[in-house]
């Protein structure tokens, strides 16, 4: 087993318009779980980390129920695509694109995210 190199001072950053917005320490992201972040303009983003260390960020709002809870859903992979299942009514959203996997007509915003 190889351990991912992890330094405590790595930060999770989101791409907003043209700047990188620092959200939190990378260590605060538990593999397989999400956290929510508040953006300066009031939007909410759900951030996730998978077991390989890859980071994802999508809108935190569940477009079906309206509550801002996607960061609290369970994650997984479906045909190679990482997703989160909403904790409300379990619809799944692709973490890379924000596309709802259970309803083609629904897609939420996805953000560029990095550890730096």
């Amino acid at each position: 087993m190889t351990l991912a190199p992890e330094t405590t001072d790595l930060k999770v950053q989101l791409k907003l318009a043209d700047d990188w917005f620092t959200v939190c320490d990378l260590a605060q992201l538990l593999p397989g779980r999400g956290v929510a972040a508040l953006l300066p303009d009031g939007r909410q983003v759900a951030l996730f980390r998978d077991r390989t260390g890859a980071l994802y960020a999508i809108d935190n709002r569940d477009p079906f129920g309206g509550a801002a809870v996607l960061s609290r859903g369970l994650t997984g992979t479906h045909q190679g695509r990482p997703f989160v299942a909403s904790p409300l009514l379990k619809q799944r959203f692709d973490l890379k694109t924000g596309q709802c996997l259970d309803d083609e007509a629904v897609r939420i915003a996805a953000y560029e995210v990095r550890a730096a």
Partner: protein, 868 residues
Amino acid sequence: MSTGTPTIVLVGHGMVGQRFLEALAERGLTATHRVVVLCEEPRPAYDRVALTSYFSGKTPEDLSMTDMEFIDTHGIELYVGDPAQTIDREAKKVTAKSGQVFEYDTLVLATGSYPFVPPVPNKDAEGCFVYRTIEDLLAIEEYAKTATTGAVVGGGLLGLEAAGALKGLGLTSHIVEFAPRLMPVQVDEGGGAALLRTIEEMGLSVHTGVGTQEIVVDESGAVTGMKLSDGSELATDLVVFSAGVRPRDQLARDCGLTVGERGGITVDEQCRTVADPHVFAIGECALASDGRVYGLVAPGYEQAETAAATIAADESEQLTFTGADLSTKLKLLGVDVASFGDAHGTAEDCLDVVYSDSRAGLYKKLVIGRDGTLLGGILVGDAEAYGTLKAFTGSVPPVSPESLVLPAGAGAPAQLGPSALPDEAIICSCNNVTKGTIRGAVTDHQCTTVPEVKKCTKAGTTCGSCVKVLGQLINAELEASGVEVDKGLCGCFSQTREELYEIVLALRINTYQDLLDRYGRDGAKGGDGCEICKPAVGSIIASLAPTIGASGYVLDGEQASLQDSNDHFLANLQKNGSYSVVPRIPGGEITPEGLIVIGEIARDFGLYTKITGGQRIDMFGARVEQLPLIWARLVDAGFESGHAYGKALRTVKSCVGQTWCRYGVQDSVRMAIDLELRYRGLRSPHKLKSAVSGCQRECAEAQSKDFGVIATANGWNLYVGGNGGATPRHADLLAQDLSDAELIKLIDRFLMFYIRTADRLERTSTWLERIPGGLDHVRDVVVEDSLGICEELESLMADHVAHYADEWATTINDPEKLSRFVSFVNAPDTPDPVVGFIPERDQIKPDLPLLSIGMRPAEDVLEGSAQR
């Protein structure tokens, strides 16, 4: 440029134009013809029907319907941003705006519609918009940044979409409709009333029965309001006109083609213009042979196919377009609205069946012919049945019409699955796909999933309203053709839950990753699993924790990432993102001090309190960051987690029993408390409930529980496999007249055997019915020890009991775990602004309209409006 090959020129690259190109390619015409497309908009064809989804995050690229590879491989010459300006029919030439001239052999007009703007003064003022193209949306979005109020002129289908978009942009929104109700074309008066109520409840202001007389502007010429026909004035910063569309037939008029009295290029059944056999018109610009201009995409697609087939002059396929169905289903602002067939009941002698519940915003009407034929209908608020009903239109449904519109629960709702439909029934009306075609995709083309069938048949690729029925049909067909159904737990594991349990126990595998990487399906190994197997395996690990050497604390290490959302926060998520808190109250017995503590906590945190059906108290409306504070106080007062969130033991209810009751023969309260404390925290395939009654009168309803105990003069009777809920089942008697020790031993064995062999989310009742041998087998195993496993079952339970620890007490003493209980990782002190409450009956309830707003402006958040 002149070439030897015949040329087809298409004017307009909208939805129908694109479909026409695909139809040409399918028939091989792109290989034999030069195909030129003049596209006026700055981008190639996109999904106009889904335009509004731009505001819920779709980008213009997502909306695109044009695959540039398709265009290239078929050698189509696509000129984006270059509209046709004139047509010379004599010379058979089209001149584009860029000055390019194209000679044609066949000309196809697919110019669509333009939005009709009523000729009111100042209609072109700054701040006035229409709603048709991506460019319109971008302009509205930009202008809305400086606006606070918006009004939409027109309360039809598109008007409501536009109003929803304005609301989504954070504007206070108004809808002004000239007709006395919303969506006058699709719904009748009753449906309009249900719709109105629901839409007003969402915070939109609706003004029906009034016209717009003038747009009011300020000195700079920007919109400030509008004058209405009832003399009132509506202040608004932005106006969107959505008062209908008109066919774009100017190009055709200019070159002398015949147009209808009210517009539209007149065509015959082949979609050929009546004035010129070399010119076709399709889509919203065409006036079809039945005298109608269709404003929906499905008829346009049919016309595209018809024109292509005609041009191909393919003898085997003489398509005609003689009219189309106007059925629609929409989800506007979250409200289902559907109408199909003869929705307004215009046929002679027809009868209505109406179900209406204006409180719930429901309205359903079916139009039925004298002979029982379903002619059409309207559904508002709940359009679940749309797919099936539409397919039955024109035939006599096999069940009574009333049962088709009654809500579930009222009377006996008809479970009319799509399997009852004939093969000719149209399942997808957008793409004209029949049930027979869909079945064929499964049987002849080996499609096994909805996406495959969509690709193969095009069904479900437009409005999406048929996708649900599609899924049902595919499954039915797969089953019928005997395709072996994979019994694996999920896409990640080919084993059943029972098999995984055996693997975990036998090999002492104590992490999910290890199990997945060693025993997962090939494609799943090394991946992140899914939302089905993670909690199921998490539960197996938790049930066996002490025995297999895993931590008994569900938030420890990897286990935290496996838990369902509720278990992860040790509380139950409510619809607005807040949580409920349920402390354990063993046996339902509670001291006055205990009650006072709960009362004080609920009061101090402003929580809604309710006595539950499980003999305890639930406190609702806690924000995630309040959970640790609330639990610190509860733990301090001696309360423990009630596991209301877990697939685990819930409650052991009791009746007051021998101590007080004149009939009681045993101390049922003591036994209930003992049982609840013994099995608390036990994770299982589904929740576990129990009850103990002090005599045969059964006041604790023990026979409706997974394990129920009823006192007898000689001891206890044990019942198992009872269930309340959706499919109630009376428990079966497992053993009689047991002593305390015998009772507990049997329950230990019974529960561990269930946990070992049940499927995920399978209550004891369904498990008992499913396992081979049923109750007799279970009795053999747990009473007679026929498998020789009882000692192991007992020792597994003993391990569990010895290692129980209250998970909330553990959590509040662990700062690292506590740091997860925040709304925002980067603003731990800021509460989630969309969690809000409003008063009801002296307590609180969730502020639901707040949820539909979604994002709130930063100023609001910072001003602490979340406290409302």
